[in-house]
């Protein structure tokens, strides 16, 4: 039972990372129908920015300063990728996959040349190093902190989308791009804003990954493919769906590891998603629409 509870907690912890890694993907996929294959490198960038920030500001507050720094840095990088590359390929989603994969290769190799292949270590501050015991399960504080950050990000995004003017514009473009454009909304700028926001969240996720292990040039790759599966399973442009999918997949992967090793659980994760779309091809949450080619 303890083992089960322990894996359940690990699942929730994994889910929080999947969620942070996939929110940005899901947002821009819902809006623009494109996937940024270099999204994993936004995680990596966030990790390296956390490392750099802690070099400048060591101490207890370093990680709190690193979070906005990583957010802004990754958002800026995302903005550049969107403006220079993705905007030009907007009507060709599959080509966008390939072109952004190229960006991903270049960024990974650049990181390897700049920081070395081995990776850099980010030391978690003392207040994140302990652990808490809850119902017989020993929970590392860093993991709890990450879950808290994921929940806060989710709340923040919901606030932005539901209560602000930019959120209103995003929802309008999400519902009907042509009509939104016809009413005078600068859809290009909405795209850019959402893309920056999504990349920024990925940067934040990178800081969280840095708390758990070394930051390497390929640190994003380990999380990005499960994050893609979260997007596939979540349903178009639905934050609720993405959250549900991240929790389901995270808990599923962790519980599967009670019975099989990590590599087999990865295969099972894929089988699970393919089985899932047999029953709900439109994803966990489907936006009702009468459009044929939604």
């Amino acid at each position: 039972m303890d083992l089960f509870l322990n894996q359940l907690f690990n699942g929730v912890s994994l889910a929080s990372l999947y969620l942070l890694a996939s929110l940005g993907l899901a947002l821009s996929f819902g809006l623009m129908r494109v996937i940024n294959m270099a999204h994993g490198e936004m995680l990596m960038l966030g990790g390296y920015l956390a490392w750099a920030t802690l070099l400048v500001v060591p101490g207890a507050a370093g990680i709190l300063i690193a979070m906005p720094v990583a957010f802004v840095g990754a958002a800026a990088m995302g903005g550049v990728i969107q403006t220079v590359l993705i905007r030009r390929l907007s009507a060709r989603p599959l080509d966008t996959l390939l072109a952004t994969w190229g960006v991903s290769l270049v960024l990974q190799q650049a990181a390897r040349d700049l920081f070395g292949a081995v990776g850099v270590e980010v030391r978690a501050p003392a207040w994140l190093e302990g652990s808490v015991e809850l119902a017989g399960v020993v929970i590392p504080t860093a993991r709890l902190f990450i879950i808290g950050v994921a929940v806060a990000v989710l709340g923040g995004l919901a606030l932005i989308l539901l209560k602000t003017r930019i959120g209103l514009l995003v929802r309008a473009v999400n519902q009907d791009r042509m009509m939104a454009s016809a009413t005078g909304i600068a859809v290009g700028r909405v795209d850019l804003a959402v893309f920056c926001l999504g990349s920024g969240v990925a940067g934040l996720a990178g800081v969280m990954l840095a708390l758990l292990g070394p930051v390497t040039p390929s640190v994003g790759q380990a999380y990005i493919i499960p994050a893609f599966l979260v997007v596939v399973m979540g349903g178009l442009g639905s934050i609720t769906g993405t959250t549900a999918a991240a929790v389901i997949l995270g808990v599923f992967a962790a519980l599967a590891q009670l019975f099989v090793d990590v590599s087999v659980s990865q295969m099972l994760l894929l089988v699970f998603v393919v089985l899932f779309i047999q029953f709900r091809p439109q994803g966990v949450v489907a936006v009702r629409t009468r459009q044929l080619d939604a």
């Binding site: 080509d95 996959l97 087999v264």
Partner: protein, 340 residues
């Protein structure tokens, strides 16, 4: 864009074929082996033209099918060289007691060759059907195939005692009784590869010009319109994807024979997506372009990565970005000045 004179366009394939036929006499054993490997990859590239160019299905997991073909032949060669009742060396090293059950039938060459062809085809058909019949496609399908490539490579690496793990399978000595070290076997395998490449080229030309090809392209350009006309696009896409996997399996088997090794590093996420760039460079709608693209990219890779290993990833990244944005129809598009 100037039209290429008809005589040149008609004559070019024959010229290339003549050059390929002269290669065994002109090239050293090493270079011939290299060319044969690249030609095996070109067979896979031809399949991608059907799947991606004509079917509009982007597969980022083609390495899986390449690997299934490669491992099938490799397992046979591991067993064929052994005295009866013994186990391959790596299994002994990793402390295994007995040969896994699913290895046993690969002792038969017929079974192994049939498996190299049929297993990728059937796996691909089942996989594609499971996704397409629920009308999931496009970007979703590409992402799922990438997850497949990751899962497959991780699985092979983790089952060290049964698959050779990260190092893969290597140290083969003979195939069907022919010693692999002999130059004559090398030349024979080269001719075999060339013949299969030509057959695949002619076969796909016929297929893409047929009614099947037309409906496949129709499903690519307007899936719902095809449905309204009374056709289900699903079987067309499934068959196209299965044929792509069939060619990938054959390519993997031939590549393993030429290279003398098959390993997860050749079939995982990164190599799988690299296979797409061969076709993107050549031109996704052009069969001839795919062959030229596969040869050219691999030649470049060989030249650049032996001199500057870390430079190759930059080149690869730039190639993806530039080809997709600036020349979506690849070299074939430049030649024709329009989409095929």
């Amino acid at each position: 864009m100037p039209e290429v004179p008809a005589i040149l366009r008609r004559g070019l394939p024959w010229l290339l074929l003549a050059l390929a036929a002269a290669a065994p006499a002109a090239l050293s054993g090493y270079d011939l082996n290299l060319l044969a490997r690249f030609m095996a990859m070109a067979i896979l590239a031809l399949g991608l033209v059907l799947v991606w160019g004509h079917g509009g299905i982007l597969s980022l997991g083609q390495g899986v099918f390449f690997g299934l073909g490669g491992y099938a032949i490799a397992m046979h060669m591991k067993l064929a060289d052994l005295p009866a009742g013994e186990m391959p060396d790596f299994m002994v090293w990793s402390g295994r007691e007995a040969l896994p059950l699913w290895w046993a039938p690969f002792g038969s060459a017929t079974f192994a060759i049939a498996a190299a062809i049929l297993v990728p085809t059937l796996v691909a058909a089942l996989f594609a059907w499971a996704v397409f019949h629920r009308r999931v496609g496009g970007t979703y399908f590409a992402l799922i195939t990438q997850a497949l490539a990751l899962a497959f490579a991780t699985l092979i690496i983790s089952q060290q005692d049964a698959t050779g793990g990260f190092n893969g399978l290597t140290d083969f000595y003979s195939i069907l009784g022919f010693g692999l070290a002999s130059p004559r076997t090398g030349v024979g395998l080269y001719w075999l590869t060339l013949a299969i490449l030509c057959a695949a080229f002619v076969g796909l030309r016929w297929l893409t010009a047929s009614r099947f090809g037309m409906l496949l392209r129709a499903a690519r350009d307007g899936e719902n319109r095809v449905r309204f006309l009374g056709y289900s696009p699903v079987p067309f896409k499934v068959v196209a994807f299965a044929i792509g996997a069939l060619l990938a399996g054959i390519a993997g088997a031939l590549f393993t024979l030429h290279a003398g090794v098959v390993s997860p590093a050749l079939i995982g996420v990164v190599p799988s997506i690299e296979m797409v760039i061969w076709v993107a460079v050549g031109g996704r709608y052009s069969l001839a372009g795919a062959i030229v693209g596969a040869l050219a990219v691999n030649l470049a890779r060989d030249a650049v990565s032996s001199a500057f290993p870390e430079l190759w990833l930059y080149c690869m990244g730039a190639l993806f970005i530039l080809v997709v944005t600036l020349m979506p129809n690849g070299l074939a598009g430049l030649l024709k000045g329009r989409a095929a």
